[in-house]
Amino acid sequence: MRAIEYSNPPLPDGINVSRTHPLLDFARLVAALLAITVIAVVVLALVAERLAARVPFEVEQSLAAQFSDQLPVPNDISRYLQGLADRLTAADPLPPGVKITVHFMDEPTVNAFATLGGHVVVYRGLMEAMPNENALAMVLAHEIAHVRLRHPATSMGRGLAVGLGLSVISAGTGDNLAAQALGSAGLLTGLSFSREQELEADEAGLVSLSALYGHVQGADALFQRMAELLFADEYRVPAFFSTHPLDEERIYAIQDLAERNRWPSQGELTPFPEAIRIQLPAMTSGEGEDDSLSADGEDDGVRDVEEHGLVEDSQAPDQAK
């Protein structure tokens, strides 16, 4: 019988092990994960926005009732602001059932915002920075426009959906730290309006402003003042800018819109009422002495620009174009 040969020839190395470099492998996985995350976030955001806009305003109001105790109590200034807001909504009516409630926050922050349930908050700092009532009315009109266009609801819906989606994806990876990192990235989208929403609110705000005053110089005055503030103190950028980016595009968009609708961009500027100026001494004096205005400085409706050509020349220096 021939002897059976027993031997162990050496085996080649790479059969049970993959030759791909681990970092390359990792990079491919991360790229695939990012792609899926981005797609999921975009889709979720779109769906959430569509759905949130359908939520009835009453639901928003009941949600807002939960934080209503954190809002400041009404006072003279907030009543004045509410009056101004009511005049704006009288000139440019809101959809039925939608109500605007304006609150005044006595803090030096230069900001104003709109949130769920039609609540608009204006800070003292912003009021003190406004040159005249028209600019303030533009701010209010802008925030009212956010409410009119249901931006607080859609923005919150989008933030929730994105955060939820990212949590689900991160839970699947089975790694605690990665899960936390992804989860917090979802919350960062937060309750901030997109640029598109800001521009839409600008447009709708201009419509209201023009309906009330007959001209849109208030908007110009507002952005002028904001630009001045920005250049005056580079280190302390007003909070307004973090949520309302100011740039050329926005100003041009407004001017373009005014031209297309043939709204006069010059007109009478209304100073703040005496009573309010007393309460907020840091406010600018606003318009110069204009005798033709009534005692409380309120505007009486649409005026013809040509009639008041003289008014423009006697404006306060900080209104220089």
Binding site: R2, I4, E5, Y6, S7, N8, P9, P10, L11, P12, I15, N16, G172, G174
Partner: protein, 104 residues
């Protein structure tokens, strides 16, 4: 390449024993299949997606084992055994090993 679980091949003689050859693969399960499987946990029954997964893994492990056998000049693998074990959460290793031989 003959792959067999038997020790001997009836009717044929082994000329050379060439030693141990192994093929292994580590596979991760899919999170999508995972969700379906957890649903299946409620009703019971065969988890077809996992069955298919392990089937694929077994095929690949066997192929790698045959590749090793071919590299050392064998024409059959006898006494093949499988071993499955779970490595870390969500991944399983499937090992196939046997003796590579040259049949006359």
């Amino acid at each position: 390449m003959m792959v067999s679980n038997l020790e001997i091949v009836p009717g044929r003689r082994v000329v050379k024993h060439l030693g141990l050859v192994q093929g292994s693969t580590v596979r991760a399960k899919n999170v999508g299949k995972d969700l379906l499987a957890s649903l299946k946990n409620i009703v019971g029954g065969e988890l077809k997606s996992y069955t298919e997964l392990l089937h694929e893994a077994r095929k690949e492990a066997t192929e790698r084992m045959m590749e090793q056998a071919q590299a050392i000049g064998a024409n059959a693998i006898l006494n093949v055994r499988f071993s499955t074990s779970s490595i870390t959460q969500g991944a399983a290793e499937l090992l196939a090993y046997g003796t590579a031989v040259v049949l006359e």
